[in-house]
């Protein structure tokens, strides 16, 4: 369980990035942190494994106060996949890249081999095992970054802007991977301003603006509240924009699959035609 209690964080240049953050995330939840650039999403993520310690307040990860713990020990529980996957790469081959963290966490040799094999298979990177990480495509690099983290099986997986530079197929693959990891019992925290991606995933959404949490709730509620999304400089998902313009048919802004909305429109139009 993750608990933020009255957390404030001020950068050395005086910029207050987090302002009285109170938050609880239960084990096994999927949570999306959304908001404009500079809202405090990445700063909040960096508090999960102690890369940043609160200026005031405290962060508890399964009851452990991050102020009294090292990044290495917290990282065993919390794996963060950063926006720029290449910041991680330095090994000559992909399998060595995955094994690096496992070595740091002192896993036995045979366990390391098994976990590397599993991670390569899970992320469909087996054929590139001996390849340099720098020679992968953008989507493969993202998958490798996730493989690196999932290999040591942290309870909490945090993803910072996982869809930046990804095409539609890669985004769909990312959704599948997130769902699978969640089914394995992992808590997933995603920082993103890709509303379509989040709308597809339908997690609990925490909207942030200027270092504060301005809304916390299920996707169906938050992503259909157009005014709060605009306040956070986010566009609503296309399906919500469409349904919000169909009030003459008696439709309300709705987060649903396009087929469902199409059927609903057809039903209402038929009803109108029959009535007239």
């Amino acid at each position: 369980m993750i608990i933020f209690e009255n957390v404030e964080y001020v950068y050395p240049n005086g910029f207050k990035a987090l302002n009285r953050i109170n938050l609880e995330v239960n084990s096994g939840e999927v949570v999306a942190l959304m908001g404009e650039n500079g809202a405090g999403k990445t700063t909040l993520l960096k508090h999960l494994n102690g890369l940043l310690k609160p200026t005031s307040g405290r962060v508890l990860i399964d009851g452990v106060d991050t102020r009294h713990s090292t990044v290495a020990s917290l990282s065993r529980k919390v794996g963060i996949v950063f926006q720029n996957a290449e910041d991680m790469f330095f090994s000559p081959t992909i399998q060595e890249e995955i094994a690096f963290a496992l070595n740091n966490f002192h896993f036995p040799g045979d366990v390391i081999r098994k976990r590397v094999d599993w991670a390569l298979k899970f992320m469909e990177l087996e054929e590139y095992r001996e390849k340099s990480p720098f020679l992968l495509s953008g989507g493969e690099k993202k998958r490798l970054a996730l493989a690196i983290i999932l290999a040591w099986s942290p309870d909490i997986v945090a993803l910072d802007e996982p869809t930046v530079g990804q095409d539609i197929l890669q985004k769909e693959k990312m959704i599948q991977i997130i769902r699978q990891a969640n089914q394995q019992g992992k808590t997933i925290i995603i920082s993103s301003h890709d509303v379509e991606f989040i709308a597809e995933l339908k997690p609990r959404i925490i909207l942030m603006s200027k270092g504060r949490i301005v809304r916390d709730g299920p996707s169906e509620e938050v992503l259909t509240d157009i005014s709060i999304l605009q306040e956070c400089r986010l566009l609503p998902p296309q399906i919500v924009s469409l349904t919000s313009k169909l009030d003459f048919l008696g439709l309300k802004p709705k987060l649903a699959r396009p087929e469902e909305v199409a059927n609903e429109i057809a039903r209402r139009v038929r009803h109108l035609v029959n009535y007239s």
């Binding site: 890369l51 290495a72 794996g79 950063f82 720029n84 790469f89 740091n104």
Partner: protein, 257 residues
């Protein structure tokens, strides 16, 4: 190191120092350094540092300037130790108050040098520096390389921090172990940093090529540097004071405490 780098970054302002022609500021900085190089006496070097402190107060960058000096402390201590050991290794030298004092003087001179550089970089944009160097007939190719290096320093510092964060999140502990182990632990930091730097340099090369960099030998500029009366007065005053410093050093019989 990052403290020194921050002290060499431009800090915007509208003070009289900021508005001076960059060539005048460059000359003042060089003259202050030359004065510190002329003398080893602690009183004179203190005077140079006081002048630099006053300039930083006028430019409203005193705290940043002071931080540069404070951040340079390890470097200054290193210079002191190196000088001291060098003196001891000379034939006929022994551990004495004189040898310690002389090593301290040299380290103190370094403070004056760094502080002088700091004022210049805190109040001059890389573009202004580029214009000043070009006006001084430095080929634009070299000027561009130099100002690009300055401009990319903060970006490089940010990238370095991101890489350190990413690797620490994979259980890398930079603080543990003996010196050899620690150095080896920097490989996961340095390799991605080198890759990023190389990639950025290729991107920059492409970006400037598509903007016709080097197409014509004689460039024109959006802003042209023009010396104003204030610039000429400041320059004349600085050169006069420096001439006095040379005169006192080589031709007068004034004894300096």
């Amino acid at each position: 190191m990052s403290t020194i780098l921050r002290g060499l970054q431009f800090y915007p302002g509208k003070t009289i120092i900021h508005k001076l022609d960059p060539r005048v500021k460059l000359v003042i900085s060089l003259l202050l350094m030359a004065t510190a190089a002329l003398y080893l006496e602690v009183t004179i070097i203190t005077m140079v540092i006081v002048v630099e402190a006053l300039l930083s107060i006028v430019a409203k960058v005193f705290s940043r300037w002071a931080r540069t000096v404070y951040g340079a402390a390890p470097l200054i201590i290193l210079v002191f130790i190196a000088n001291f050991l060098f003196k001891l290794s000379m034939p006929g030298q022994s551990l004495s108050f004189q040898s310690i004092y002389e090593s301290l003087q040299l380290a103190y001179r370094l403070v004056a040098f760094l502080a002088s550089f700091s004022i210049f970089f805190l109040t001059t944009t890389p573009e202004e520096l580029g214009m000043a160097l070009t006006k001084m007939k430095v080929p634009y190719m070299y000027t561009f390389a130099f100002i690009s290096a300055i401009r990319f320093t903060p970006i490089l510092a940010e990238e370095l921090q991101s890489i350190v964060d990413a690797q620490r999140s994979r259980g890398l502990e930079l603080e543990k172990g003996n010196i050899i182990t620690r150095l080896r632990r920097y490989i996961p930091i340095l390799v991605p940093l080198m890759v990023n730097v190389l990639r950025r340099s290729y991107e920059l090369a492409e970006a400037i090529e598509v903007k016709c960099f080097g197409a014509k030998k004689n460039r024109t500029y959006l802003r042209e540097l023009k010396m104003t009366t204030k610039d000429w007065i400041t320059l004349s005053a600085s050169i006069t004071l420096f001439t006095v410093a040379i005169y006192i050093r080589y031709f007068s019989r004034i004894s300096i405490p």
